[in-house]
Subunit: 349 residues, 4 copies
């Protein structure tokens, strides 16, 4: 009953096996092997256009370098005030951008509210050297608490960013989960809606370590290549990432994993909803389930082997929340089984 995070799982068997299978032989290092190149091409097919692809070690690196690429003196990136990039990355963006700033914007369920964004940006125009200036907007798809920006939501944000000539970054640590939830194409969810750069995560969805920055503006690719290298993020045996992505994309494994993961979340939500002793905080849209649980029950569930975390109340959550209750997060993944959920259900009595 491992619902603590989708990064508690290991690697999907097909990915592990592909990696194993490519351990032999020799090939060019630093991202120039045939396999690397084939995978870059594959990204192009998936996104239906030429893209520049940069493998990096972590989602934190992908986010920070994406925003650093668009950084400028006195620049600040606007993100949701509860987003991973501002809350959980130890100031990586500030560090790797040479002192940029993140500015939190309000909105329900981890989604930036367009009106709040409009207002927040407005305060910086006309530009003044005293206050600094907007440099980018970053959204998280799916959000930190598993909500989804609809295509219209993304467009609304990108129109505002565009009206200020700001690039739009998408933190896609759970890109696939959002994609299958929306049932659209990667192109529709990104550049067709004005997204300029994507942190494309594979790790949470079945890889060991497969994160990529997908950049649509090829003119900036050279800058990013230097940025990545000097951040110590250019793998020598880069093909070990390429091999993972190769398996990840083969026969739609990535979409299948995400669908499974989302389905498990829906199933878990059903289980929670049906249980009299706790209640579902809201219907999940991707692979994260939030439940309000009494302190005693949470403790006994954890004692019985269910791994899940206490979570701060997000904007948008309307309750109810009793005095001895808290909000808890449950994350499903490609590796979550009906059996695990069944065992959890049985604990709920």
């Amino acid at each position: 009953m491992f619902f603590a995070s989708d990064n508690w799982a290991g690697a999907h068997p097909a990915i592990a096996s592909r990696l194993s299978g490519s351990a032999g032989g020799f090939s060019t290092a630093y991202g120039d092997s045939d396999l690397d190149k084939a995978v870059y091409e594959k990204f192009g097919e998936i996104f239906e256009r030429k893209v520049a692809v940069f493998f990096v070690a972590t989602g934190t690196a992908a986010n920070a370098l994406s925003l650093a690429l668009y950084g400028k003196p006195g620049g600040m990136a606007f993100c949701h005030c509860e987003s991973h990039v501002i809350e959980d990355e130890c100031g990586a963006m500030e560090y790797l951008s040479g002192g940029g700033r993140l500015r939190g914007v309000d909105g329900a369920f981890g989604r930036i509210d367009p009106v709040a964004l409009q207002r927040a940006l407005g305060g910086f125009f006309p530009e003044s050297v005293h206050s600094g200036r907007p440099a980018a907007v970053s959204i998280t798809q799916a959000t930190e608490i598993g909500a989804i920006y609809s295509l219209e939501d993304i467009e609304a944000i990108s129109v505002i960013a565009g009206s200020r000539s700001l690039p739009l970054h998408m933190d896609g640590a759970r890109f696939a989960n959002a994609l299958v939830a929306l049932g659209c194409t990667p192109a529709e969810m990104t550049w067709k809606r004005g997204v300029d750069i994507v942190s494309f995560g594979g790790t949470k969805n079945g890889c060991w370590c497969a994160e990529a920055i997908v950049l649509f503006d090829l003119d900036l690719a050279r800058e990013l290549a230097f940025l990545r290298k000097r951040a110590g993020q250019l793998f020598s045996k880069s093909r070990f990432v390429a091999a993972q992505f190769d398996a990840y994309f083969r026969d739609g494994l990535w979409l299948e994993n995400a669908r499974h993961s989302n389905a498990m979340a829906a199933h878990l939500a059903d289980v929670v909803e049906a249980a009299p002793s706790l209640h579902l905080a809201w219907r999940p849209q991707a692979n994260e389930v939030f439940a309000v649980i009494g302190d005693d029950q949470a403790e006994s569930l954890q004692a019985a082997g269910a791994a899940f975390h206490h979570w701060p109340l997000p904007a948008g959550f309307a309750g109810p929340l009793g005095e001895n209750e808290k909000l808890y997060r449950f994350v499903t993944s490609f590796a979550t089984t009906r059996d695990q959920i069944g065992r959890f259900a049985s604990l709920l009595g």
Copy 2:
């Protein structure tokens, strides 16, 4: 005949298999799994003392973060003027230390000359805010061109660093190759000779991606933990590195790989030495062989499928070097075979 670099190989079968075998199940993320902890312990055994271990994505990250840890305003790290950290890491140290400086010191075959170091450091004392100040010394073992610091050499450097209260960093991208060449223990090659922090590389010696910073001063471990995280170098599924190191250390695989690699270099050196048409630049001490080859011959060897690189002349190389000749580097690895070398020998006629 892949002699271009030891990072052109993939992963050793035992490591690939161990990784594959640990793909299932769930465990704590971010370096706190049981396997991670067991591997940290293993590092402690290998180094015969408590150490703090930080997995990172690349050797560049290991070097830059090690030196950033010891950085200070106006600080500069003294390294060999042909070292990887100054020549091949795109200014990672400057970037990740918030503007530190690397200062090259002369010496033959990639080894810092103690007299030159003494003199270089001396110019900065008494300290002056105008000139900046020494903050660390960094040596590479084995050096960029495959030479080895003897234990006495390391001690000579560390005594000088210590006399200025400077920490000593060892870039151990080829740690194992140096270790087996010296026939000493990791402790003898590091902290017993005054080394404070090590970039411990596993990637070039049979892993996919297994680099660690080994820190002997546990009081600094907390700082380094924050540094690593904000550099985007904290893997979520950290156990994928742990699994590689687990196999790497098991039954002395790492030493065996390094011995094989060094032996292949010695064998290749014999082959080069025996050939009338080219000549060995110097006897290899680890897993890099340098040969002086005529331009025409180099071209035809490469055309015949031998991969190796042109290399700038290092300090210490006394020639001879004809007008139409250049220096070339050949690197062997755990994956180099006698057969590959045999085929190369046959090309030499």
Copy 3:
């Protein structure tokens, strides 16, 4: 009727004259002249203890370098959410600290609310590499809108900072105005209440360019010396700052200037209070007066030659504020005259 800012004035005649008088002769550069040293001593007398004094070019530099001195990886400084350091310095702190973060804390009238600070800090303990960690607390005395922390207020903040082992910085751009308002000594307002480092401003109170960092922990002085130099903040002809401070402190000129400035603010407040057509937002504590003025009247006052700025509504302001009214700031200085205020009064009819 120049009420736009206290930095619209030039230099006090005594300061201008002292500067003029020291233009001749030769003396050691970079802060080591006899005059520089005498002024450092004078700071020691004023603060009743040994202090380390660093002249810098601007208040922004003083704030950013003070906080950079106490920076650490993943570190954030807690300041009021409307403070100058976070709102008006273009990210200087982030830049000069190599990527630190400022975190705004609520509170009325520019003063950090101790309860809010306690809560904000509490969220970061136990420390986690994901969220980053507190590194310092910064208060502004007088605050950005001219309110004063009482000695008890300062102590309340410093006790909280101290309980987390965090240093306390005071942005004293208007140090003297606060000091005379409280009627206490510099020591009482700073280190006796737990302040560790002060941005000591002289510019707004009658100097041309006289800002100093006053550091109480002498062990950190060497670090700050390097930080300042590499920030390009070490004046070669440093004595031109020393000469200004020399005149500033002579015969209590600085206190006299501040008293005059505060008195002019009180007088202006009386004038505003007495006028039927606009109303005082709150009683000034130092040298800033805030008034609620109708849009038409504000425009006509400005057209008549009164210089003053529109100001965003600060936390703590309870109104009332009519639909066509806004909040405006008036700043007095050593150079403000009764006559100027009289003319302004006459405009109010």
Copy 4:
């Protein structure tokens, strides 16, 4: 007999008096006053084109921000290996550029040798992410040891920089001394020879604190405005710098000061040349005189009140240098008098 440095002098009477005279009244802060604007215009006249002018606190700031403006990931600025920017600014460029690198190039008397520059740059093309990349070239006019680049010398450097699309920075801490030595116009010495940005120093030549960045590419002015502000280099009472420059430029005072200074250096050189007991190292071109002096004599001269500094041997110095002799630097300024030199001459016997 103050020959230690040209920054040991105070301010020229005309400048001190102008500053004093502008102490009264009120004007817009942060560089927007009428006087500031008039001085920007004056710079335009002097340089015979539109320029963007940024006052900063120090020459170190001017250099570091100029190079930071042209910085890019992995970028390095090529400067003479004995230049102020690399030897005497505590890594300001690295700090303020977020981790850039300075790379020293050889050349006699502080002037970059074009052949050495060509070769140094050549090693970085084609560009590689491993080695980093050239971002700018910086020359010092007059050089650190008082030599002058002829207009042809500047052009030679700028052609090389231009062939690599690199901007050319001029550290003009002693701009005026070089200018009058060459007898050309500011335009001829800068943008007409391909210089893109100038650190224009007034401090050493008679001001208290008057340094400006003069930028010819107006498209970059906005970036630099943000850079300067966040470096804490935007003076609030900016007119105190403007007033100095106003007097500096009035009636050619700046050129007169520089001519005087250079003439005093020539006179001092004559004195040294004529003296049997010491010898002139080379003929001065600007306001620095270098002499070879025996240890005993140096000591006794200093004991007799002559202030001058020991100096490291620059590339280009051919000797002779006896065993008990050293090289010493003497700097003249606007404030140096024939009388001081006469007294020094009398000490030489």
